[in-house]
Amino acid sequence: MEGFRIPIGEWAATALNWIKANLDGLLEFIRTVLGGAVDGLTDGLLGVPIIGIVVVAALIGWTVRSWRLALGTVVGFGLILGMDVWTPAMQTLSLVLVATLIAIAVAVPLGILAARNDTVSAALRPVLDFMQTMPAYVYLIPTVLFFSIGVVPGVVSTIIFALPPGVRLTELGIRSVDPEKVEAGQAFGATPGQILRGVQLPLASPTILSGINQVIMLALSMAVVAGIAGAPGLGKEVVAAISTLNIGQGVEAGLGVVVLAVYLDRVTSALGGRAQNRGSLLSIIARRRAHALAA
């Protein structure tokens, strides 16, 4: 076996170098758009008075879940403010939001496609496995190579890493819709598009939303990795704390990630099971309206 080696690494490097050399325009475009989106959102979040952000976040929590979540939001965001990590927290939040939006925009259509076509499903499965299991740090190498240090390689790596559960759960959700209900749509003369919009997506929405929840959680977990690539935010704080063995800085930045994670998880998981949240503003309003209609 002496001397036997499959030079996959070299091939990959060659391929990436070729992309770097020949698709520079495209890469530049991606960098401009993603960088602009994240920076713009960050500027927006930091431009609004802090109290406004806290109030809006608390109201969202109440709207979809309960007043307890609203209270928890105020406490958690207060903690972030008190630890003086507000600016990096907002930077991380905008990175996560942009990455999540793009991941969902790609994942949901892919999941729909995979649910309707067995060949697409079979072809996607190993690709998704690869994306999800490849250690996240590895993505930083080509992305930094393509986009250089900063927020953009962080966003791209995050999108790649966070995408798979969105695709998987969308496909699962649509495939597990009661076939009799799909049949009912067909039997009354619905087109495939009408069945998708009127039957499959609404019935699959709890599963799809839990997929989106997973995407957000994975995106947050990538925040630290993005910090390595130089993306400003809580991740960069953590990386700095590691390199200087600064326990205090590390704990504060880490807690900031935890607060954001818990908040985003509670909000998005509440969206998946709206009916159970009797304390949410949405269901209170719905009950009032039903009451008014019945009267």
Partner: protein, 435 residues
């Protein structure tokens, strides 16, 4: 393609010819060999022949029931009728449009305009209210919102869900959910309704209620209904005609009475053994020729003779046109003879119970118990068309031979003879005429 405008009302609205449906890797071959007579077991390695060579026509306004056990192919059959499954061979014509091999657009048009469906597990959309579910088919047809809600409201009222419009299906009982399923299909306003085990998931009491409601609706709206069931009692109750399926083949098509009284083979016979015959057979099916009948103008002697000959305690009296007038009892007739009167008129009693030929046997038990004479069966003009002795009623419930005779113990024959001899009035006796 469409010939519905020129079609004759008695033409079948749904016509199935040589329809086969097979699943597996080589469906064509499986269907071909099954049609040639191969059994499902012989073809098991190649695929499944779900429906084999089915042919039938359904007339407008008919309730056509397809009956079979699970795995007999009935669910596959009904799904080929609206193209949810494409037939492997054969043809399905709906109101003149051939749907075997039709393209997706044609199928959608047929489903929107001609055939709607009610599902076993209701298949309602859980995120829509009752009213929006009922309006679903209209929404697909592109009916404007106001119009479709108005029409949906009308069918919701028809199926008796008034006041539940804004509820979600999950807030309704099974029976009510299926009413929504029925409302959705009725709102589509298609001439044909396919019902796939529509009441099988319901409690027996609710099921009976729904069956009765379906018959009422059908009488009112004149829909053509193809109803799938594994319950023979349900089939017998609902069906104008019944197709019995076994192993993918239709083994008999006939009216409920045909199937019950003249089963095509042992399989059907075995099936109908368990049927509640009392709810299927009607008075008209089992009644006998009325023998114990005398004319209104006859005398008591004729009546007594008739009773003696028939070992009965009473006879029916009819007027002109065989119109039923009443009954005469033996003791009354004897008293009349003793008094020497010659006309029966004074002792005719009103008929205790007269039933119609369409009444099912189940409804005859109580009248039969209360009546001392065989039950009188009359037509719509009160004419006596038949009688049902209790023995006949009993015999009809089992598969045995039809015994006749009456169970009331008559006055002993010698007593009658003695009496007749004692007070002989030759002149009037000669004029009496036994009918």
């Amino acid at each position: 393609m469409t010939a519905s405008s020129s079609s004759n009302p008695s033409d079948p609205i749904l016509s199935v010819k040589g329809l086969s449906k097979a699943f597996g890797r080589r469906p064509k071959e499986v269907a071909k060999r099954a049609e040639a007579g191969a059994t499902r077991q012989e073809l098991a390695s190649l695929g499944t022949a779900a429906v084999i060579d089915a042919s039938f026509d359904v007339a407008p306004g008919e309730i056509f029931v397809v009956m079979g056990l699970s795995g007999s192919g009935k669910s596959t059959l009904i799904r080929t009728l609206n193209g949810l499954l494409a037939p492997t061979s054969g043809s399905v014509a709906i109101a003149g449009t051939e749907i075997a091999g039709a393209d997706a657009a044609t199928l959608r048009r047929v489903r929107r305009e001609s055939v709607s469906m009610v599902f076993q597990h209701f298949a309602l959309l859980p995120h829509r209210t009752v009213l929006d579910n009922a309006a679903y088919a209209l929404e697909l047809q592109g009916v404007a919102k106001e119009e479709r809600l108005r029409r949906a409201q009308r069918v919701v009222d028809v199926v008796g869900l008034n006041g539940w419009e804004q509820k979600l299906p999950s807030e309704l009982s099974g029976g009510m959910q299926q009413r929504v399923g029925l409302a959705r299909a009725l709102a589509a306003d298609t001439p044909i309704l396919l019902m796939d085990e529509a009441f099988s998931a319901l409690d027996p009491l609710i099921r009976r209620e729904m069956q009765e409601q379906l018959l009422e609706l059908q009488a009112e709206l004149g829909k053509t209904i193809v109803f799938i069931t594994h319950d023979l009692n349900e089939a017998m109750f609902l069906g104008d005609r019944i197709a019995v399926m076994r192993d993918g083949r239709i083994v008999q098509i006939g009216t409920p009475e045909d199937i019950l009284t003249d089963p095509a083979n042992d399989y059907v016979a075995q099936f109908v053994q368990d049927v509640d015959r009392a709810r299927v057979l009607t008075a008209g099916n089992v009644m006998e020729r009325p023998l114990l009948v005398v004319g209104e103008g006859s005398g008591p002697r004729t009546a007594l003779k008739a009773m003696r000959d028939g070992y009965a305690s009473a006879v029916y009296v009819t007027g002109r046109d065989r119109k039923l007038v009443g009954v005469v009892r033996d003791r009354d007739a004897m008293r009349l003879v003793q008094k020497g009167e010659t006309s029966l008129r004074s002792i005719i009693r009103p008929t205790p119970h007269a039933v119609s030929a369409d009444d099912v046997l189940f409804d005859l038990f109580v009248p039969a118990l209360e009546s001392e004479v065989p039950l009188a069966v009359t037509d719509e003009r009160d004419r006596l068309v038949g009688v049902i002795p209790r023995v006949t009623l009993l015999a009809a419930l089992g598969p045995g031979t039809t015994a006749t005779g009456e169970m009331t113990i008559p006055v002993p024959a010698n007593e009658i003879d003695e009496l007749l001899a004692e007070s002989a009035v030759p002149a009037s006796a000669a004029n009496e005429e036994v009918r």
